[in-house]
């Protein structure tokens, strides 16, 4: 079972948790106790292009820290994304506002534009949340 919690929303057994303009925002897999993390934000949707594939930063001036249970991606001092594995669930905190995209999480909800998603369950969909 693939279970991801984003801003109190549970996304279960979906191929992609979030896609933006047709591209998956992030994905992860475990390989010999190492988490391999990919992250993709394109322009013109965002003001800066960021591409990370299997923990390798290919585009964008970001920093990445990864271990077997967590990943953080920062733009300068600003946290863009944090993924924490707890048991069989990945907990995701997100803030793409520094990239000019109004998509972020807080302790209550996932915010997309002015809309808030809170305590929803999305199960067995190809894409859990599609933006754009």
């Amino acid at each position: 079972m693939n279970r991801i919690v984003i801003g109190t929303n549970v996304i279960e057994d979906c191929e992609n948790a979030i896609i933006i303009s047709g591209k998956p925002l992030f994905s992860y897999r475990l390989d010999n106790e190492t988490m391999l993390f990919s992250f993709n934000v394109s322009s013109p949707q965002a003001t800066t292009v960021i591409q990370i594939k299997d923990n390798v930063i290919q585009k964008g001036k970001v920093t990445l820290k990864a271990d077997s249970k967590s990943v953080t991606v920062k733009l300068g001092n600003l946290l863009l994304m944090e993924l924490l594995i707890k048991g069989d669930t990945a907990h995701v905190n997100l803030d793409l506002r520094p990239l000019g995209l109004h998509i972020y999480t807080d302790k209550n909800a996932l915010h997309v534009g002015g809309s808030q998603l809170s305590e929803n369950t999305i199960k067995q969909c190809t894409n859990g949340i599609e933006v754009g």
Binding site: H102, G114, L117, S118, T121, C125, E130
Partner: protein, 135 residues
């Protein structure tokens, strides 16, 4: 003023304020009355009264730039978190407690530069609301 210019100004303000507050050019969905400078007015939502002075301080370095872009001095109208919830909830819809299975997920249009009004679109089937059982 073109929509590109309007978006550029919101992006500029968003950048210096770290996109913390939703912004929107005044339109008929927010304000029905007319006033001098209405077309150069920006609403700032979910901003506590204690942070309004700081907001103006943050944008001070770019106010001249905004004036050059728009050809006019901008007016800002602040809405506290309480006032935003009370009067502008239509700009900030909440989707809560939905169970969505075996369909195309929840879709949103790409958020605009101000970060207001982005309504989710659901496929026609597969949505269930968890109802609380009355005791």
């Amino acid at each position: 003023m073109t929509s590109d210019i309007r978006n550029d100004v919101l992006q500029l303000i968003g950048k210096v304020t770290n996109y913390k507050y939703p912004l929107r050019w005044v339109d008929e969905k927010i304000t029905v009355g007319d006033f001098d400078g209405r077309e150069f007015t920006i609403d700032v939502f979910l901003i506590p009264t204690t942070e309004q002075i700081n907001f103006l301080a943050l944008i001070r370095p770019i106010r001249e730039q905004i004036r050059n872009i728009t050809g006019h001095r901008c007016i800002f109208i602040f809405h506290s978190s309480e006032a935003t919830k009370m009067h502008y909830s239509h700009l900030f819809p909440v989707t809560r407690g939905i169970y969505h299975e075996n369909r195309g997920g929840i879709k949103f249009p790409l958020p605009g530069s101000g970060g207001t009004e982005s309504k989710p679109v659901f496929s026609d089937m597969g949505i269930y609301l968890k109802l609380k059982v009355a005791a």
